[in-house]
Every structure is written in structure tokens, then in C-alpha cells.
């Protein structure tokens, strides 16, 4: 190899490194080594891949919900639980009516979306007043909404015996099965198997539709205006864009996507998780979009998609692989904590340099 071609290779490698960034390289390397280990240990790859695909479909829309707030300059939406709660109220109400299958799922969405619009609008109003501290305020607004709703789940007038605590007969259960209502309706819709890998067609198509819709939205006039607000508020204002309206729209959109996202998540998981479960809902979504390459100022559909695929494949296969290799010791939870929070710190400390 001549010196010149060596130099170009080096240049190419450096470009690739700068494009990807150190954290993503580490995560890709970790993911590859996990797959290698799985092959060495002769684990059933088809199960790992099947689970990964389902997990990606489950979480895709929750991660997508991060984009509008990043695009309009509000930052990472740690207040995602606000929307998640709206979605859960929708799910629980639909179940209370005893609706089954797609009817139940769409009824849940029909209840959740207006609730999310209202909650998101109020949340946006609050964030508008605390500019510069949106992420911190958002985190604790999310936390307090979740803990406040714990009291609601306990006292709310839901009477369907399948949902309330068996003993005492008061308050909703912590986890409610969706077996008899809308569990896995999307997953099973037109699902098929190929090479022993089950493809949850409905789930992936549903997720894909939302990705396309959001991509189209960012291409539209409103979407472009929103991105202008995010990248340069002064310029946006001088070119006649209503900055506050765009930020409100971004936050509300994010909240609505979170509500839909949790419904998709729950139907695929097969259970609705109430009480303190939504407390940490924001963190995996935040970590995913950052792992995908988004920064506090720039986020695209591609970032959300790549991030979801990388992070959730990692989470899915880390547990079985490490358990096989280490005989019981579970480091996947620890790895998740270190990686997702490390990624968030990386993004927070690097936002100024563009």
C-alpha cells in the first residue's frame, strides 16, 4: 500500500470516527461483542433477533417523541411521563369499558390524544415560563405528575373487577394484563415468521407510519419553522415566526407522541403498568435518541431510528447473553444504567460546542 492511499485510509477512518463519536463507537463495539459471544456460546440467535425487533417496535414511538422538543430548542423532554400518563389513562378507561381488540386500542388512543393535547399544552405553558431550566423543571414535573397520579389510580372510580385489587376491592392493580382486551393487537396483525424469526408486521408498520408522518411534518412549513426556532430563535423571530407558538407546538406534539408511544408499548408488552412504573419512562427514550447521534441542538428521524435500534437491541440481548456467559450474575441492568446516563452526560457537557 502506498503512503498516499494509507493517508486516505487514515483520513477516512478519522472522518468515520468524528461522524460516529466515541460513545457510539463504544456502544457499537459492545453490541458486536455481545453478538459474537452469543454465537460462540451457541445461543439461539433467532430468538435474540425476534425479541430485538419486537423491542424496537415497542419503543420506537416513545423515542420519536424526543424529536419535536429537541427540534424546537426546548431540549431533552424529561417530562415525557406527562404524555405517558395521558396514554395510561386512555388505556385504563378503554379497558374499563371492556372494549376488545382494535376497538379497545383505538378507543384508548381516542381518549389519550385529547388528554395529551391538554396536558401537553399546559406543560408547554409552564416550560415557556422557565426557559433555560426546561430539562430540570421537566424532570420534576414528570416525577410529580407520576406520583400525583398514584393517588388517582388508587382512588379513581374504575370498577371493572379485572382491574382492581383483588383484596380490599379498592384501587387499580399495579400491573393489569391486556390478555382479554387489546394485548398484542398490533404485534399479531399480519404477523409472519421467516427463518424462525417472527415479524410483528402491524407493530412495525404502525411505528413506520408515525416516523413517516413526523418526517413529512419536519419537511412542511410548520416543521421548518420549528427547526428554525430551535437552531436560531433570534433569526426565527426576525423572519416573522411566532417562537412561542412553535415551542408550544413542539412540546404538545412530543406529549401526544408519548401518549401513543406508551399505548403501543403496553399492547406489545401485554400489560399496563401503573403507579411508579412511568417514573423512569423518559430516560431510555432520552438515551436512545442521543445514542442515535442527536445533540441538544440537532435531531433527525434518522437519529431516533438508529438510536432505537442500537439501544434496544443492546438492552434486549445483554441480559440473556451475560447470563449465559457469567452464569447468573446480571450486569445488563448495570450496563444499561451506566450507558444511558453516561450518554446523557456526554450530550449535556457538549452542547455548547457545535
Amino acid at each position: 500500500m502506498s503512503d498516499e492511499s494509507k493517508a486516505t485510509v487514515r483520513q477516512y477512518a478519522r472522518n468515520a470516527y468524528e461522524q460516529l463519536g466515541l460513545p457510539r463507537l463504544i456502544i457499537i463495539a459492545f453490541l458486536l461483542s455481545l453478538f459474537t459471544l452469543a454465537v460462540i456460546m451457541r445461543m439461539d440467535l433467532s430468538i435474540l433477533i425476534k425479541d430485538s425487533i419486537t423491542r424496537i417496535g415497542m419503543n420506537g414511538i416513545l423515542v420519536l417523541a424526543m424529536l419535536p422538543t429537541l427540534a424546537c430548542g426546548v431540549g431533552l423532554n424529561f417530562g415525557l411521563p406527562v404524555g405517558v400518563i395521558a396514554g395510561l389513562v386512555g388505556a385504563v378507561t378503554s379497558m374499563n369499558w371492556g372494549l376488545k381488540g382494535f376497538a379497545g386500542f383505538f378507543a384508548a388512543m381516542a381518549i389519550a390524544i385529547p388528554l395529551a393535547v391538554i396536558a401537553g399544552y399546559l406543560y408547554a405553558m409552564l416550560l415557556e415560563r422557565v426557559q433555560g431550566q426546561e430539562m430540570m423543571v421537566g424532570t420534576y414535573v414528570g416525577f410529580s405528575v407520576v406520583s400525583g397520579m398514584c393517588m388517582f389510580w388508587l382512588l379513581a372510580p374504575y370498577r371493572n373487577p379485572a382491574m382492581i385489587f383483588a383484596l380490599g376491592g379498592k384501587g387499580l392493580r399495579t400491573t393489569i394484563t391486556l390478555d382479554r382486551t387489546f394485548g398484542k393487537v398490533l404485534n399479531d396483525f399480519l404477523g409472519f415468521s421467516i427463518f424462525d424469526v417472527y415479524i410483528p408486521t402491524g407493530l412495525l408498520v404502525f411505528m413506520g407510519v408515525f416516523y413517516v408522518l413526523i418526517a413529512l411534518f419536519f419537511k412542511s412549513k410548520a416543521g421548518l419553522a420549528m427547526r428554525t426556532v430551535g437552531s436560531n430563535p433570534m433569526y426565527a423571530r426576525s423572519s416573522g415566526i411566532n417562537v412561542q407558538r412553535m415551542r408550544t407546538l413542539g412540546v404538545t406534539l412530543s406529549t401526544v407522541l408519548a401518549a401513543i408511544g406508551i399505548l403501543v408499548y403496553s399492547q406489545s408488552y401485554g400489560f399496563v403498568q401503573l403507579y411508579t412504573a412511568p417514573l423512569t419512562a423518559a430516560f431510555p427514550a432520552v438515551a436512545s435518541v442521543l445514542i442515535g447521534g442527536a445533540s441538544l441542538r440537532k435531531a433527525t428521524i434518522g437519529h431516533a431510528l438508529i438510536g432505537t435500534i442500537l439501544f434496544h437491541t443492546l438492552l434486549t440481548i445483554a441480559l440473556p447473553v451475560t447470563q449465559t456467559v457469567l452464569q447468573g450474575a446480571d450486569i445488563s441492568e448495570i450496563a444499561r444504567m451506566i450507558m444511558s446516563n453516561g450518554m446523557i452526560i456526554y450530550a449535556l457537557t457538549r452542547a455548547e460546542r457545535r
Binding site: F78, L126, R129, V130, Q131, G132, Q133, M135, M136, V137, T139, Y140, V141, F143, S144, V146, S147, G148, C150, M151, L154, L155, K170, G171, F283, G328, A329, I331, E333, I334, A335, R336, M337, I338, N341, G342, I344, I345, L348, T349, R350, A351, E352
Partner: protein
């Protein structure tokens, strides 16, 4: 100045009014929570002696941790959620001391000494990181707490017994890898609380007339240490370093121009806070007597921050009195709310949830109010 004071002498009524209104303005948050506490006490029909005993104990346990938040606020870093990391340093020292079976006050003192270098190193790392995230210190310190929790678990659950050789049937899990979930601190329990028992054992059990007083128990030595810490914190604010911190907290650019090394000052503030938090966690654990290896530290940051905010502190201004009043009020609410929930709704769970709603809600509202005011004053 003199004109003002004569005016006040001439119209004492107005001066008094202004005094009351300034008290109301500065202490509106604690007064609000005092009202809630009193309502809760009335609703729960609580035995007042039980309440005092609980609150005194909890004050001794938590005040040190809450006070450790003051210095970073002064240096403009906001509320340091990273005291969780200090708590982890304290716990690490505790594991070492328990392993070598050093007991009693000597063991406690040894743990405080061992925790210092660990906390300083971790505090330095946190300070370095926060200097990269100016304007977003609070959210960054919070996430750093979560991140450090991952590292902590990695060290004590996976590396201990594999990479770090340690054999101790009392501390290590039966598999030989990782620490047990709970560690009994028999040797260390109450070692500080009762270190001054030779003076007075802090036990109150009398009655004045028909009213019974007690039984309460004051953790005398701990309260003494807290008093020293209060004096020390006040002293630090008056030193050159303290003045520099204030200058940095007021305006980083002006401080920089005035020749203060801003980054270094901020790192020192965080390091101090981290060391104090390590000690605070040691005080907390010697009072509790058992140590949940993987969860004792988790809520330290949130509860301490909520306490100081209940005491009327903001992200830019926090005093000793905010810390003390806040700790007392927050823990009164903590004791009262499950009982009040039981009485009012017939479900004690409601009170439990109300308690965490309160902690989170206080932080959310206080942060929002402050950011709001900050913007309002800026736009003027």
C-alpha cells in the same frame, strides 16, 4: 441609611408592617408548609410526643446532608443533586471499616477519615464535569448521580470478589461475588448519636403539670456536630474563599475579570459539598443502624433538596436557617402524611404516595417559580 432609620422611628407602625411583609416574602414557602403540617397533624390526630420524638430523630439523621447543599448554591451551581455521589463515598468507607471490624466511635471516626479522599476525588470529577455544562449544572448533577449509581453497583456487585479480592462471609454474598443487600452496622449504630452520653444521655421523660413530655431522645453529639457545621459554613462564607464563591455565584464573567479562577472555585465548592455529604451519609447510617448497600444513597439527593426548598431556599440563595427549618418541616410532613392519608381516605397508601408527590412537587414548583422569577427580573 440614617434617613431611613429616622423615618422608621417616626412611623413605627409602617416599619412593623414592612417588617412583617418582608418576613412573609422571605418565608412564605415555609409558612405554607407549616400550615399544611398543622392541618395534617390535626387530621391525623397525632400524639404530639410521638411526633416530636420522630422529628428530632429524623432531624439528627438528615440535617447534615441538607446543610451540605448550601456551599454549591452560594457558588452559583444550584442545588447539588450530586450529593448522592458523596453518600456513595461515605458508604464505601463504611464497607471498609465494617470489613476490618473497627467498631464504636473509633470505627465511625475512621470511616469519616477514609471517606475524605474518596469524596474529594469524586467531587473533583463532578466539579470538572459540571464546568463543562455551565447553565445546566442541576440536571447534569442529577444524571451524574444516576450514572455513579451504575458504577457503584458495578464495583460492589460485580467487581468485588472478582477483580477486587475480598473474602468476608459477613459482607459478601454466598456466591463469593458482590456485597450483600443489607449490612448490619451493630458495631457502629448510634456510635455518634450517643458519643456524649457521659454528659447527658439526651433522654427526656417528664411531665409539666398534667401534660406528659417525652419520651424523646436527643442525639446529643450529632446535634453538637451539626451546630459546629453550621458555624463552619457561616465562617467559610466570610473567608476570602467564601467571598470568591459568592462573586462567582453572582456573575461568572465579572468574577473572571476580577481575577478569580472561576472553574477552580466551582470545583472546590463541589468538592466541599461532596465531602460533607459523605459525612452526612455516615451520620445517617449510624443512626439507622442497618445499611441497604444498593439503595440507601439513592434518595439522599432528592430528599435533601426537597427539604432545603421547603425551608424557603431557592436555587440561588440558601442559608443555614433554610436548611434547619426545611429539615424540620419536611420531616414533620413525612411523619404526618401517611397517617393523615389513613384518616382522611381510609387508605394509608394514599399518604405514602402523597409523601413522594410532595417531595417531587416541592422541587418542581420551587424550580419553576425560581426560573420564572429569574426571567421576570431579567426582562425588566
Amino acid at each position: 441609611m440614617s434617613e431611613q432609620s429616622t423615618a422608621q422611628v417616626e412611623t413605627p407602625a409602617r416599619g412593623l408592617g414592612a417588617g412583617i411583609s418582608s418576613i412573609l416574602r422571605n418565608w412564605s414557602v415555609p409558612i405554607f408548609f407549616l400550615a399544611i403540617s398543622i392541618a395534617g397533624i390535626a387530621a391525623a390526630r397525632l400524639d404530639i410526643n410521638y411526633l416530636i420524638n420522630e422529628v428530632v430523630g429524623r432531624f439528627g439523621r438528615n440535617a447534615f446532608l441538607v446543610i451540605s447543599l448550601i456551599i454549591p448554591v452560594m457558588a452559583g451551581l444550584g442545588l447539588n443533586f450530586g450529593i448522592v455521589i458523596g453518600a456513595m463515598a461515605g458508604q464505601t468507607a463504611l464497607v471498609i471499616v465494617t470489613h476490618y471490624r473497627v467498631e464504636g466511635l473509633a470505627g465511625f471516626m475512621l470511616a469519616t477519615v477514609i471517606s475524605v479522599p474518596i469524596a474529594m476525588l469524586l467531587g473533583w470529577l463532578v466539579g470538572k464535569t459540571l464546568n463543562q455544562a455551565k447553565g445546566r449544572e442541576m440536571v447534569t448533577s442529577m444524571i451524574m448521580g444516576f450514572f455513579a449509581n451504575g458504577i457503584y453497583q458495578l464495583v460492589f456487585l460485580v467487581l468485588l470478589g472478582t477483580l477486587i479480592p475480598m473474602k468476608d462471609p459477613v459482607l459478601i454474598l454466598r456466591s463469593g461475588i458482590g456485597l450483600r443487600n443489607t449490612i448490619d452496622l451493630i458495631g457502629l449504630s448510634y456510635s455518634l448519636d450517643r458519643a456524649m452520653d457521659w454528659l447527658w444521655n439526651g433522654f427526656v421523660f417528664t411531665s409539666i403539670g398534667a401534660t406528659r413530655l417525652g419520651p424523646w431522645r436527643f442525639p446529643l453529639c450529632t446535634l453538637f456536630i451539626i451546630a459546629i457545621l453550621c458555624a463552619l459554613t457561616t465562617f467559610i462564607t466570610r473567608t476570602k474563599l467564601g467571598q470568591e464563591m459568592r462573586a462567582v455565584g453572582q456573575d461568572m464573567h465579572i468574577a473572571q475579570v476580577a481575577g478569580i479562577n472561576v472553574d477552580r472555585t466551582r470545583i472546590i465548592a463541589i468538592m466541599m459539598s461532596t465531602v460533607l455529604a459523605a459525612w452526612g451519609q455516615l451520620i445517617f447510617l449510624q443512626n439507622i443502624g442497618t445499611f441497604n448497600t444498593y439503595s440507601s444513597h439513592e434518595q439522599v439527593g432528592m430528599f435533601s433538596v426537597a427539604a432545603i426548598l421547603v425551608g424557603g431556599a431557592t436555587t440561588r440563595r440558601a442559608t443555614i436557617w433554610n436548611a434547619i427549618v426545611g429539615t424540620l418541616l419536611f420531616h414533620t410532613l413525612f411523619v404526618v402524611s401517611p397517617l393523615a392519608g389513613q384518616r382522611l381516605f381510609g387508605v394509608s397508601q394514599v399518604g405514602e404516595y402523597f409523601r413522594s408527590f410532595l417531595a417531587y412537587g416541592v422541587i418542581a414548583v420551587a424550580l419553576a417559580l425560581h426560573a420564572w422569577q429569574g426571567r421576570a427580573s431579567k426582562s425588566k
